[in-house]
Symmetry: C2
Subunit: 231 residues, 2 copies
């Protein structure tokens, strides 16, 4: 992939407030401030997850949040700030299921419930999934460091766990990294490509029960593939 060129749409040179990058102190907030911010973040999540950072506009977000643009900018002085907070919050919840995969547990049930949890997240937090996907498609300009740092360490760690389980003969042998990728891919697909899934299944094809069907299918796919061969 070529280096990303950011054209920085309509940046009006930031006239006053000469505080540069240093001002990142999380000031004390009233209850009403937090509520307003949550409304904005929720609205912004909907817009960013569909159009990406550049494609989204403050107007759209303000509309969705039911407030005027200057009012929104009173709470978040910069568009980037909203996006940054969303990404940070999303990443934390997004990686939680993998963290929960427990080395001391039973391998097959552990993997099974990891898949189930990931699929539930795709069902319950599709906007977060799409926000993440959008960031990936752009080459992760804002979170690359986290991917190559924190995420990589976490995956390395869990890959080791999987390898140990394979060594002990508790699951069959396969590349642990690509196993994790395939779990991510198959589960997130139901959030990110939701339109396609629904269009293909349609109402008469049981599009409503698609998450239950997916859960059953993925369990079959992965478990049959991972169960130790009998003799």
């Amino acid at each position: 992939m070529p280096p990303i060129k950011m054209k920085n749409a309509a940046k009006p040179a930031r006239r006053s407030t000469e505080d540069g990058e240093a001002a990142s102190k999380p000031r004390p907030q009233t209850r009403i401030q937090r509520e307003k911010q949550d409304i904005i973040l929720d609205a912004a999540l909907g817009v960013f997850s569909v159009h990406g950072f550049r494609g989204a506009t403050i107007d759209q977000i303000a509309d969705a949040a039911g407030m005027s643009k200057p009012n929104l900018l009173y709470y978040f002085p910069r568009k980037e700030e909203i996006h940054k907070q969303l990404i940070t919050k999303m990443l934390a919840t997004w990686l939680a299921p993998l963290r929960e995969m427990d080395e001391t547990g039973d391998p097959i049930p552990e993997i099974r419930s990891y898949i189930r949890r990931k699929l539930e997240m795709a069902r319950d937090f599709p906007r977060e999934s799409r926000l993440f996907a959008n960031e990936m498609l752009q080459g992760a300009p804002r979170i690359y460091d986290i991917l190559a740092g924190e995420l990589r360490e976490l995956v390395d760690d869990k890959a080791d766990v999987l390898l140990r389980w394979m060594d002990e003969g508790k699951i069959s042998r396969a590349d642990p990294y690509h196993l994790i990728f395939s779990i991510w891919a198959t589960t997130q697909h139901y959030a990110d490509f939701d339109v396609q899934v629904r269009a293909v299944l349609g109402k008469d094809r049981g599009g409503d029960g698609r998450f239950e069907d997916a859960a059953r299918f993925l369990e079959t796919l992965f478990m049959t593939g991972l169960s130790p061969k009998k003799a």
Copy 2:
């Protein structure tokens, strides 16, 4: 998903050329015209696939194509026209592998080579994959009809083939639609989430051979899952 609100950035009311929607005749073209258009389409593919329709700008595309903005607009009078042509071309090549899955062939090898072909496309045409993914994330505003029409028919058709193979005991029983989804998801993941895959694998983890490793893994995953149980 809520209905998509298109804010139509910077549309200057199209001053002259009162031909409306009717002008879609593919006029005869010289060789040099086609070449220029191909350069533009190639450049546009790079930009649209990263930023999506709204996030991409004609300036970026013109830059990437090595020509001025008005010059580009001489060949494609409207931004939408470029995107439409890209989407159309992409969809055709994108669905080809599934079409090739042959009912009269041997089930296991047929599925195996379908997966292989899809993975090769993710490797060789990642920009097309991301263009498609971007469109999906946005709710497919420009291609929904194709998804619910042509694509759905194709998938229905191939699902029937898979079901017949299952009835004949040649592959084990599973939901054919979700089987197809999971093949799409796992293979396209290597194009759409390429940054993440590379960041996690890194150079020392064999990130270079990731497509070969993925091919081996996916073959194991799907084949072991699909092979008829012995006794």
